[in-house]
Symmetry: C2
Subunit: 268 residues, 2 copies
C-alpha cells in the first residue's frame, strides 16, 4: 500500500493507458520490499514543457521512464545525457542526480540485446537485418553496433532516413559493416521488425518474412499482440522467434540499476 513515505517513479507518454511499466516496476518494488511506486503519467505534447518542469519540482520523484511521443523532446530538457541518449538522439530513462540535475539515457536498445542474451542468443559477430529507421530502430542499431555485431543492414520505406541512420552508426562504430537493404532478409543471422507494422491486423509485413529460413532468428519490437503475424509467419518457416516483450523485460533490471535500485534476484 502506497504511504506518505513512498519514493515516486513514473512513465510519461501520450497515450499511457497501454503501458506495462507500472506493473513491472511495482511488482519489483513489492518483491524487494522497496517503498516506492511507479505511476502512469499522461502528458500531451502541448503540455510537455510544463509537465517535465513539474516532474522536476517533485522532490520525492527519483526518476521516470519516457515513452512515445516524448523521447526526443525530453532529451532536450536534460542537464546531462548518457552515451546512448546522445547517440540515439532520444531518451527513455531519466534520473535525478544527487546534485538535483537530471540525466537521461536510452535503454531500449540495450533492453533488446539483454532480452536476446537471456533467451540464449549472443549478438556479437552476427549479421543483423532490421526493418525500420525510426526511434526504435535507432535505439536498437546503436545498441547492437555497440554490442559487437559484424554487420547491420537496414531496410526502410524512406531510403534517405535509413541511410542517414546507417551513416550515424558507422560514424560511432566504424568496425560495423553497414548497408541499405531490400525487403529480402536472406544472408543475415537475425532479422528484426522495428517498425509499427503489425500493431493492426490488416498491416502487412515490413519485410519478406516468407523468405526467412533457419537458422535465422526473427525478432519483434512490438509487444501487442504478443506473437505478431510476422512472428507466426517466421515460425511457419521453421525459424526461431523472439517476442517484443523481452525488450521490456530486459530493460527492467537495466532501469533499476540506473535508478540505483538493483537488488539480488529473489530466491526461486
Amino acid at each position: 500500500m502506497v504511504a506518505g513515505t513512498a519514493r515516486l517513479f513514473a512513465i510519461i507518454g501520450d497515450p499511457v493507458g497501454h503501458v506495462r511499466t507500472p506493473i513491472v516496476f511495482n511488482a519489483y518494488f513489492a518483491e524487494h520490499g522497496i517503498d516506492a511506486v511507479c505511476v502512469p503519467i499522461h502528458i500531451r505534447p502541448e503540455d510537455l514543457e510544463a509537465g517535465i518542469a513539474g516532474l522536476k519540482a517533485i522532490a520525492n520523484l527519483d526518476g521516470f521512464i519516457v515513452t512515445a511521443p516524448h523521447k526526443a523532446r525530453v532529451m532536450q530538457m536534460m542537464d546531462q545525457l548518457g552515451l546512448d541518449g546522445e547517440l540515439v538522439g532520444a531518451v527513455n530513462t531519466v534520473r535525478r542526480e544527487q546534485d538535483g540535475s537530471y540525466t537521461g539515457t536510452m535503454l531500449d536498445g540495450h533492453g533488446f540485446v539483454t532480452g536476446l542474451a537471456r533467451a540464449g542468443y549472443e549478438v556479437r559477430g552476427k549479421r543483423v537485418y532490421m526493418a525500420g529507421a525510426g526511434g526504435a530502430s535507432s535505439a536498437l542499431a546503436f545498441a547492437l553496433a555497440g554490442s559487437g555485431i559484424k554487420a547491420l543492414t537496414i531496410f526502410n520505406r524512406t531510403r534517405e532516413r535509413g541511410e542517414e541512420l546507417l551513416a550515424r552508426v558507422k560514424a560511432a562504430f566504424p568496425a560495423v559493416e553497414v548497408a541499405f537493404g531490400t525487403r529480402d532478409p536472406r544472408g543475415h543471422d537475425l532479422a528484426v521488425n522495428a517498425t509499427p507494422l503489425g500493431l493492426e491486423p490488416q498491416d502487412g509485413f515490413s519485410f519478406d518474412v516468407e523468405k526467412a529460413e533457419p537458422p535465422m532468428l526473427v525478432a519483434e519490437v512490438l509487444m501487442k499482440p504478443e506473437t505478431t503475424a510476422l512472428l507466426h509467419a517466421a515460425a511457419a518457416k521453421g525459424c526461431r522467434i523472439h517476442q517484443g516483450k523481452h525488450m521490456l523485460d530486459g530493460q527492467r533490471d537495466l532501469m533499476m540499476a540506473y535508478f540505483g535500485l538493483a537488488r539480488p534476484a529473489a530466491a526461486a
Copy 2:
C-alpha cells in the same frame, strides 16, 4: 497493483512523509474496485509554481489534496473556488473540471464537523470555544459557523489575528455571536485546540483545560499523538474527548464526493 490505466490523485506538501492520505485513499480505492492511486508528492515552497503547473499538465491526474505549507498559495492558482475556499482564503482539495479548469475548496472544517457528527455530536446551536487563529482555525471557524453554531469564542496569542478572523466570520455569518476570549474555556459546550501546541511533549496547553468541566466536549485538530496531553487532561476532568484523526476520517468521504468517487459503503 497500479497499472497504466490508473487515474491519479496526490497529496502535496512539504514535508509529506508523515501524511496518512495516501493510505486512506488507496484503501478506499481498493475496497471499491476503483482503478486509481493516490501518491505523496513532495514539493518545496520555491518549486510550488512549477509543481502545480506540472500537476495541471498531467491529463490522468483528476485531483489533489494540499497540505502545509501550500494551502494559501495554491488557492491563488485556481480557476474557481468553492465557497469555503473563498471564505477561508486557502484550499486543501483541488479537482479538475470537465472543461479542464481547476476548482479548489477547503474541506478541513467540514471534515471536523462531519467527524463530530459521526461521533454523535451535533454542533448546531452550540457555544464553541477555539484556541488558535491560523489556517486550521479559519477552516474550522467558517465550517462551524456555517453549520449553525450559536456562538464562537476565539482565543489566540496574537489578539489582532483572532479578532480579524472573528470579524470575517461575523461578516459571512451574522447570526453567530462572536467574541475574543481568554485562556478560560468555561461557558462553552465545545472547546477545540486548533493550534500546533501538543505536537511536542514539552508543549504547554493552548488554553486552561484544567478548568474544563462536563458536559463540555474537548476536541483536537492534532493527529499525533492520537490522544494529546490536552485530551488526557480533559478526560481526567471527566470531559468527553474527540481526537484529531476524526477530522481526516470525516474528510475522506467529503473528498471522494468532491472527486465524483462517492460509493455506497461496503457491507459490514
